[in-house]
Subunit: 408 residues, 2 copies
């Protein structure tokens, strides 16, 4: 056999988010109490609402345990159609909705469907860890625009316009532009105006726009979320979403792709993604029925998601205040999702890089976070603001003490 | 945008098994009663055993709804380790077991981890529909050896030896040899001696051997199943398996990969597959706990799987007898899994090909089967022998009448 049996493309496959999990587990095995601020998992601290568990149990009891429709059980597809009608006044047909095993599976299918070796796709930095992996898995390369930290992590539009112009000039062009709104890891909710400009740019350069909107219901007091589907009508675009965050049901692994338009490109994509779904037979069946039922139960959902968002906002507010006392870090206040993404002032600290910072923080303070370089933004780290306020506050105090101790 | 936005590789992505599903659904919407003999889904006719549903419900009630360990929850990993210790006297460590969302996800990860564009992998024809797709998705090409219908669908060993010799002579070699035992679509349980020769060939040519053994518990009276893990110790190999068939839990989507050896190649593969798992976060969490619990409940499992296998064997026996009355088809009797894969004597029938045969059979007799060409074996069709005996017998009688009517 050759020196290594692994493919070239596979070397890009890794997850910074979970790279410290084994070390954290080791610490736990040695009796240490690690606070996990690395997993964007509301169900870790806020149990999945009882009405959803009941619906899941009911699906199991009534025999929903077979393989199911590959593109998603019709009950869930219809619930998604109804969700978008009510929430965004969007008219979807059943064929426009495709259910996947989390947004993660959707990203794999979309990139396989679109990316040939050497193809390029455009993402914005800091990016969710899987985006470059999913492109590179298929031999593609990613171009990166920027969210601008100095402008509250809004999209750096001039740079994006230049990249689109330059990148799209070649024979093959750019396959798609992928944005995240609200953002992971920065927690930014994009202003409608910025979004309008992005849609305009995609349209002008005739580039498929993909918007990952998995946090669309996790938006804090002052901010207002706009979906790409409210602006992009008439051009090909995809929306990624799922039940993990808004329905507090991460372990169910229910995501979906919307391809709302009926143009040739949109039709090609939705038919092909359906083929990918057929090849893997189906997503978890009872979980789909559970989410279908949960989506149809508007009153319970409104109540539980409001409680969740209010709780997260309180935790974020308090964490931001405490972080403000730390002169070695500086964080833009998030207005959605549940992440805080501070910049580390490396010049004031005795660490080589963010990886060393995050590892030492876990080792010394038992607080697990994620290095910013995993999101394409070195000298940052990501904290998940889902732990209860007292635990989160205590973690920030430990981070502050840790920075004090290691400052130069 | 270009003429088509889709990638070149994506044109290989389709599933013959599910290609008639939409047409069958249309027929149902028009009040027709379609018998589905196209889905290898025991749970369609034999409800998932109650003790497994209870375990699933218990997992949900006790809050197992978060993301979980990417390579599989330890409880399930340990249950798999114990299953292989008891059943095959195999000593596995926890790192050797990786849980996936069905074998389908495992195949995607393995092929992405191993296949660069232009790489080749060796499968045997007739093959499960996903095998070539998973290779071609990553720009790879497949070479195909043969199961020999004239020899009860055993492996055509001389041809395989030649292919290995020739295919492995180039600079890059063949990345792996994948076999299926018991087989889908032929229902063949490979004799131990044939398996020994395959293991010998893989070893001689230093090629990674992968054995898909998802049907290892579905074996009829006379046959004896041998796992590759009983023979391949000392060389790198992978076993694919899962809960779908033996635990009658298809809709849970729980599969797993075993990499039992500790050599460099095996270690590289298991570490890299774990990376793929981390990128997609986790498989469905409560389903993993349900299967962990079910695997640990040996008595209930033995009872329910024995009932299932006995029922399938009765259905197969009767179906084979009735098929024997049809002079336009000829089927080798399966000794495992739940498929019958008859050869269509096209010379006696007025159909262009197996696709036309299968489509007309669905349209005229409301019996949905799958065309053999989808498995790389034209002039065949696959029937799933899971419907109750009276329905299955009636379907075969309809097939016999259909062939009579269309014979020339």
């Amino acid at each position: 056999m050759p020196a290594s049996i692994l493919s070239d493309a596979s070397r890009y496959v890794f997850s910074a988010i979970r790279e410290e999990d084994d070390f954290a587990e080791d610490l736990r095995r040695h009796g240490k109490k690690v606070v996990k601020l690395s997993s964007g998992d509301p169900a870790l601290y806020y149990p999945t609402p009882k009405y959803i568990i009941d619906a899941y149990t009911e699906a199991l009891r009534s025999g929903r345990t077979t393989y199911s429709r590959s593109q998603g059980v019709i009950e869930l597809v219809d619930a998604v159609v109804e969700r978008y009608r009510k929430r965004y006044s969007l008219a979807l047909s059943e064929e426009d909705v495709i259910v996947t095993s989390g947004v993660a599976e959707a990203l794999t299918f979309i990139n396989s469907a679109l990316i040939d070796p050497g193809d390029r796709a455009l993402i914005l930095r800091p990016y969710y860890t899987q985006y470059p992996v999913a492109i590179q898995m298929f031999g593609g390369r990613f171009l990166a625009g920027d969210y601008d930290e100095e402008d509250d992590w809004n999209i750096e539009l001039d740079g994006l316009a230049k990249l689109l112009k330059k990148g799209n000039a070649g024979r093959k062009g750019i396959k798609y532009l992928l944005i995240t709104n609200p953002n992971n890891p920065t927690g930014t909710v994009l202003p409608r105006k910025a979004l309008e400009e992005v849609v305009g740019l995609a349209n002008e350069h005739r580039i498929l726009l993909i918007s990952d909107e998995i946090y669309d219901e996790i938006v804090f007091g002052g901010a207002r979320f706009t979906s790409v589907c409210e602006l992009a009508g008439g051009m090909p675009y995809l929306v990624l979403n799922g039940a993990s965050k808004a329905f507090d049901a991460t372990g169910f692994r229910i995501g979906y792709v919307l391809a709302p338009e009926g143009d040739r490109t949109s039709n090609e994509i939705k038919r092909k993604i359906a083929d990918y779904c057929r090849v893997r037979l189906s997503a978890n069946t009872p979980a789909q029925y559970a989410i279908a039922s949960a989506m149809a139960n508007g009153a319970e959902h409104e109540r539980t998601v409001r409680e969740l968002v209010n709780a997260i906002e309180r935790v974020v507010d308090s964490a931001m205040k405490l972080l403000g006392e730390n002169e070695c870090v500086r964080a833009v206040k998030p207005n959605g999702a549940f992440y805080i993404f501070p910049k580390i002032r490396m010049d004031r600290l005795r660490f080589k890089d963010d990886r060393e910072f995050v590892h030492a923080l876990l080792k010394e303070e038992l607080v697990q976070t994620t290095r910013g370089s995993g999101f394409g933004a070195p000298d940052h780290f990501r904290m998940v603001a889902l732990a209860p306020k007292d635990i989160m506050d205590d973690s920030i105090r430990r981070i502050n003490g840790f920075c004090d101790r290691h400052s130069r």
